[in-house]
């Protein structure tokens, strides 16, 4: 049983971390309600509001004078499709590497993960050539095609670690009972791999949300942009940054993502640490 002293100690340790981690979100929220004249008023930093603040004008500008909702929609669309593709490829690949490839599995797994480490800043020029020559410039399909090049290796590596934690005896039992390998996968392995799959989903979606270089290199049409490039185009004009709008635009997508993390927090931790205790 946890004593009051232990509770206080854990809060004392966690408190500063929580403040540091939450502060950027607070800053974004606070700035998004500042008026133009109040933005650079250093007397009100970091808690107060001055002349003209708080105001919802920045949100109004974002929703009514930019293509923000289109960018959100595009981002979600690309994210969902990429996650589906990623799972379709990474689930069998991760399982195969964990179970069927024997001692080669580990090396192959590391090899696949290494491809994830090649930075997009090196790849975007040759990729641009590929995308242009298959006629996908300025189309969301270009992102849907290229993003799995980094989400699949990562998800495969993650799932491989997780599948290794599942006792092989469970599958052996199913096979002995007459199930085929595919049936074993669908009815035994995947259902108990939900934490690992969720982790792969969340990470893949986050990677898509974070991409900037490919989105910049492949798409310039405003209606086809994702959040990451759209807000940079519309809210940074020359050497003038529209900070309040930028903060609002970046805060909004973090909220559902944070809720998603929270909803599956325990499973997410189980999935991410699954391979660590083998």
């Amino acid at each position: 049983m946890i004593t009051t002293r232990e509770k206080l100690l854990s809060y004392a340790v966690l408190g500063p971390f929580a403040i540091v981690l939450a502060f950027p979100f607070y800053w974004m929220l606070w700035t998004s309600f500042k008026s133009d004249i109040d933005l650079y008023n250093v007397n009100d930093v970091p808690f107060g509001f001055g002349k003209g603040s708080p105001t919802t004008r920045n949100y109004g500008f974002l929703f009514h004078h930019t293509e923000y909702l289109t960018w959100v929609r595009n981002t979600v669309l690309v994210g969902v499709v990429v996650v589906v593709i990623t799972l379709a490829l990474a689930l069998p690949a991760g399982y195969a590497l964990a179970r069927l490839a024997g001692r080669w599995g580990q090396s192959l797994g590391v090899g696949i993960f290494l491809t994830y480490l090649v930075p997009p800043t090196l790849l975007f020029l040759p990729m641009s050539w590929v995308i242009a020559h298959i006629g996908l410039q300025d189309r969301l399909l270009s992102l849907i095609l290229v993003f799995p090049s980094f989400t699949v290796p990562f998800a495969t590596w993650l799932l491989m670690g997780f599948f290794k934690t599942i006792p092989a005896e469970l599958e052996d039992a199913a096979l002995v009972d007459g199930a085929s390998r595919l049936q074993t996968l669908l009815r035994v392995v995947f259902p108990i791999s939900v934490p690992g799959i969720l982790t792969a989903v969340i990470f893949s979606f986050s990677l898509v949300l974070n991409d900037f270089v490919y989105a910049l290199a492949f798409i310039t049409t405003s209606k086809e942009k994702t959040i990451s490039t759209g807000v940079f185009t519309e809210l940074i004009r020359g050497d003038v940054f529209f900070w309040q709008g930028l903060m609002a635009a970046t805060l909004i997508p973090t909220i559902p993502l944070a809720l998603l993390y929270n909803l599956f927090l325990n499973r997410f931790i189980a999935g991410f640490t699954g391979g660590a205790f083998r």
Binding site: Y40, T70, I192, T221, T229, T233, G238, V240
Partner: protein, 462 residues
């Protein structure tokens, strides 16, 4: 026989969630995210790309997001639409943030496909072999509007290959922005670099340092190259020979080191293209070298501050008063562009009637052919913001003190490379931080710049 042994569930966690729950939540979440508020048909199908397309031709343009939003409104929705109707062409304008433009342009060059017209904020002679000769545009405008201003000519023409590697439609003069109230308090005016150095310690003591960046960004490049010229230090001579290791360069480096130590703060080593504006608008800086985006932003966001912003030409140094353009907005037409003829026509006609662009940009865009905008001084004097007439000085700066990057030579590919690699700000930063002496830095950077020039000389571009 029943099995009463406790089962081990490795997926068990504190809060139970059934598969059914998971699927239900996931499906609900997906529906909300994908469809919520955005319309089912559009969300799934994507926006139609050619809705309402009735015009025969197409012209695609890529350029920065202008700091004056009204300029983009005018260009995208008024000028190009009218021009498109008159020329049976659908003009599509795409915008990218200025810092990301070079990356996007590099991607198009690598892909060999992209926009018909791309514009950068500085000439890009490194793409000379990938773009058409823009001579036709220059000649067409010159026939009707007379000569192009020298600073633009030297920025976009290669005398070695006799090729126009770009077409600058406008440039932005680069005044100093200073706080009239603060400088009055110290009883001075920043008309010479010597005065700036003398006033700097007092201004910093008042909490308002000088803000001249020494970082890997465009404003630092422009400000420091201009400072060098005021001391008689030039990167190259008129024959494209490197002339960096001189007493004048060492003097400029010493001066900048002194100015940093007496009147600036460490922030200048992390300067970005937005730092001049942000620090000035926050009321922190007493002086910055920047185009007029500072007073223009202040006029719309903080009129009280705007009243105390003065504009002057670059301070005079031992060699005189020599400044640079702040922006040389240069269009390029790729050799692989699909609509080269239309692009040439569009450029020439934009330049011939540049008054609309000059006014929509709030006097930021100075036409590369001065006669394309009549009565510039009168238009500048008409600006209603206080202090009245403050923008008149831009005409003097443009006429007398605006030179090209690489002056007295041309803005060639070697200058473009050292500009992109930010070698000049790095040289200044190393001296200001005390990492090396001015003598050592001038000698070392002469060697490094020489290597760049040698490379381009071998390629026959300089």
């Amino acid at each position: 026989m029943s099995d009463d042994r406790p089962r081990v569930d490795i997926t068990r966690v504190d809060d139970e969630l059934t598969r059914r729950d998971l699927l239900r939540r996931a499906a609900t979440g997906a529906i909300v995210l994908v469809y919520g508020g955005f319309g089912v048909r559009k969300a799934v199908a994507g926006a139609p790309q050619f809705r309402g397309k009735e015009l025969k031709g197409t012209l695609r343009i890529l350029q920065w997001s202008h700091f004056v939003p009204a300029y983009d409104q005018w260009f995208d929705n008024v000028y190009t639409k009218r021009w498109g109707q008159a020329n049976d062409t659908d003009v599509i304008v795409d915008h990218v943030n200025q810092a990301d433009l070079p990356g996007r342009v590099a991607a198009e060059a690598a892909a060999g496909k992209g926009h018909d017209l791309v514009a950068l904020l500085a000439p890009a002679p490194q793409y000379e072999d990938r773009v058409i000769d823009h001579k036709e545009i220059v000649q067409e405008v010159q026939r009707k509007r007379g000569k192009m201003i020298d600073v633009c000519y030297r920025s976009a023409y290669n005398p070695k290959t006799k090729k126009w590697h770009g077409f600058p439609d406008f440039y932005a003069p680069d005044p100093i922005n200073y706080r009239t109230d603060l400088w009055a308090q110290v009883g001075s005016k920043p008309t010479t670099w010597d005065r700036v150095l003398k006033a700097a310690p007092k201004l910093r003591a008042m909490g308002h340092p000088i803000g001249i960046g020494m970082s890997n960004e465009i404003d630092s490049n422009m400000a420091l190259m201009a400072l060098m010229m005021c001391f008689g230090s030039f990167i190259q001579n008129g024959k494209a020979r490197v002339t960096l290791n001189t007493k004048a360069t060492r003097d400029a480096l010493k001066f900048a080191r002194d100015l940093f130590q007496k009147g600036m703060s460490n922030e200048i080593f992390a300067w970005t293209a937005a730092s001049n504006n942000q620090a000035f608008l926050a009321g922190r800086l007493s002086l910055a070298l920047n185009a007029i985006s500072i007073p223009r932003s202040a006029e719309s966001t903080n009129p009280d501050l705007a009243k105390n912003i003065g504009l002057l030409p670059i301070p005079k140094g031992p060699h005189g008063r020599l400044g640079l353009e702040h922006v040389m907005h240069t269009y390029m037409i790729w050799k692989f562009a699909s609509n080269k003829k239309t692009a040439v026509k569009f450029m020439a006609e934009l330049e011939l009637k540049y008054r609309g662009a000059f006014e929509a940009s709030k006097f930021y865009n100075f036409a590369s052919f001065p006669k394309s905008v009549q009565n510039v001084p009168v238009r500048l004097a008409r600006d209603p913001h206080t202090p009245k007439g403050k923008y008149k000085i831009l005409n003097t700066i443009s006429d007398k003190y605006t030179k090209n990057v690489g002056y007295p030579g041309f803005t060639n590919a070697a200058i473009g490379e050292l500009f992109d690699k930010f070698l000049i700000p790095q040289m200044f930063a190393e001296v200001a931080q005390g990492k090396r002496s001015p003598d050592d830095a001038a000698r070392d950077y002469q060697r490094r710049v020489n290597a760049i020039f040698s490379k381009w000389r071998k390629l026959g571009k300089i």
